[in-house]
């Protein structure tokens, strides 16, 4: 353990003419719980997608462990083609893919993992529904569950709780903190509610107009700001 799990060196990302990330240098320690905070359009999503290898870099280098062990990922844009006749359970089970053996059915443990994730996010009674039949929050929960069951070392979530009700949001965040504390899972998460995030950690990554830096705010871990 210890050391950095993800290292960005002089990362530049651009869409066409517009450079969105300018020389980002970042070392994310193994086992961090790192919220990403920043204005709309500052480049949070772009940075996370660059780390996941979903956006090509114009310059620079990102070292990640993802070629060995895939990440759990909740995208910001929580859309799945509504035409596909797949149930919520099947979408969650997609997250088990890296863990299952080829050409085999799910084993007991994996089935339990997906059932537990569904249960925890309150989706158990909707498990047979189709993605298009879910409410916005339920869609989001489905994708969170998919990321959680992947059992990855790193979980990357882009505004995972934007459409959740307050209670669910707290549950999800607490669960993430718990995973982070107990199993040492690294969590990278974009969140807009700084106050809420500060209840859990005081180290965060601040993104401003394409520049990212890790900052620490006041040390006390108080519950109310």
């Amino acid at each position: 353990m210890g050391g950095s799990i993800i290292v960005c060196k002089d990362v530049c990302v651009a869409y066409g003419r517009q450079e969105v990330l300018h020389n980002v240098n970042l070392e994310i320690p193994r086992g961090a719980f790192l919220p990403f905070i920043g204005c709309n359009g500052s480049g949070k999503t772009t940075l996370l997608r660059a780390i996941l290898g979903l956006v090509p870099l114009r310059r620079g280098l990102i070292e990640t462990p993802f070629d060995r062990a895939p990440a759990g990922y909740v995208p910001q844009h929580k859309v799945i083609d509504p035409l596909y006749p797949v149930s919520v359970r099947q979408i969650v089970e997609m997250g088990l893919y890296p863990r299952r053996r080829r050409f085999r059915r799910l084993d007991e443990e994996q089935r339990n993992a997906s059932a537990a994730a569904l249960e925890q996010l309150g989706l158990a009674e909707h498990a047979k529904k189709n993605f298009r039949e879910l409410s916005g929050g339920m869609k989001q929960k489905t994708l969170i569950a998919r990321a959680l069951v992947s059992g990855s070392e790193v979980i990357v979530m882009d505004e995972p709780t934007s459409e959740l009700d307050e209670q669910s949001e707290n549950e999800v965040l607490s669960h993430l903190v718990e995973l982070n504390a107990q199993r040492g899972i690294t969590v990278l998460m974009v969140h807009h509610n700084r106050e809420l995030v500060e209840r859990f950690t005081h180290t965060m990554c601040r993104i401003q107009r394409g520049n990212a830096e890790i900052v620490s705010t006041g040390k006390g871990g108080g519950d109310n700001a």
């Binding site: 895939p70 799945i80 035409l83 006749p85 979408i91 997609m94 893919y97």
Partner: protein, 273 residues
């Protein structure tokens, strides 16, 4: 009726077997053809094959080599992921269709052959299937189907949510390319024998019926081939009894099944109120 069926089997055993096999495989693949919004891939590839044959006549190479080369090229172009493209996949398919149709005529107009001759190479009618063709069919379709079923999961995941699949370590481009290549091979092999229209029908109408009837992927993947085989069987019986062209009769039966399926579904959902 019983007599007719008996007769059908003893007169056209290859046609019946080939029809059932083609319909089962194509209908199953067709589910993904619809989901990937590549519905017209059947006739597009058949136009491309025509163009390939025309080019082969002009160059003096074997017709099948020409059609194979062009079909592979077209399929390769269609396997490109279209998420960030300015135009969707079906537009590219339309452009390929137009280019292939027009080029075929232009090539023919400059070579000595006529368009009819080119088409004759690709002509297929289920009822004329021979033993040899049945063997070719088995050789192409059975491995294709086996590969498809074995790799159903990563392919499905790649199609359903490409980015998530990538993050999960699935090499999506491999599965997409393999799927389209396999589709190209299956369409080429079956169109040769069953005719482009019938293959198009198996690829679209039967899976569409299954998709309308069920929202479970496993049910859909099982229902589509069953519907395809039912349409084939009924179509052959009807065409035999009423003296109608077989391919077209099967197509119409499949369309009738679709209408009936959609109607039943609608009635059921209305009666739930």
């Amino acid at each position: 009726m019983h007599d007719a069926m008996q007769c059908l089997y003893c007169q056209f055993p290859e046609a019946l077997r080939a029809g059932l096999l083609i319909s089962a495989v194509c209908a199953m693949l067709g589910v993904f053809v619809i989901l990937k919004r590549a519905v017209f891939i059947g006739i597009t590839l058949s136009e491309v094959a025509t163009c390939g044959v025309a080019a082969a006549f002009l160059l003096g190479i074997p017709p099948f080599a020409g059609s194979l080369a062009l079909v592979l090229a077209a399929v390769g172009a269609l396997a490109i992921p279209f998420d960030n493209q300015r135009i969707p996949r079906d537009t590219l398919m339309g452009i390929i269709f137009i280019a292939a149709s027009a080029l075929a005529v232009l090539l023919v107009s400059k070579s000595g052959t006529g368009l009819m001759e080119v088409n004759a190479v690709l002509y297929g009618d289920l009822i004329l299937a021979s033993k040899k063709e049945l063997a070719i069919l088995f050789a192409v379709l059975v491995p294709a189907l086996a590969g498809f079923l074995l790799f159903l999961r990563p392919s499905l995941y790649s199609f359903l949510d490409r980015e998530a699949a990538k993050v999960l370590g699935i090499r999506t481009w491999i599965w997409e390319t393999l799927f389209f290549l396999m589709l190209g091979a299956v369409i080429s092999a079956t169109s040769q024998i069953a005719g482009a229209l019938l293959v198009f029908c198996y690829l679209v109408v039967c899976p569409a019926t299954a998709l309308v009837l069920s929202k479970r992927i496993k049910v859909v993947l099982a229902l589509a081939p069953l519907l395809g085989m039912l349409a084939t069987f009924l179509g052959m019986v009807v065409s035999f009894n009423y003296d109608l062209p077989t391919n077209q009769t099967i197509c119409i039966i499949a369309c009738i099944l679709f209408v009936v399926g959609a109607g039943v579904k609608r009635l059921v959902s209305l009666s739930l109120r």
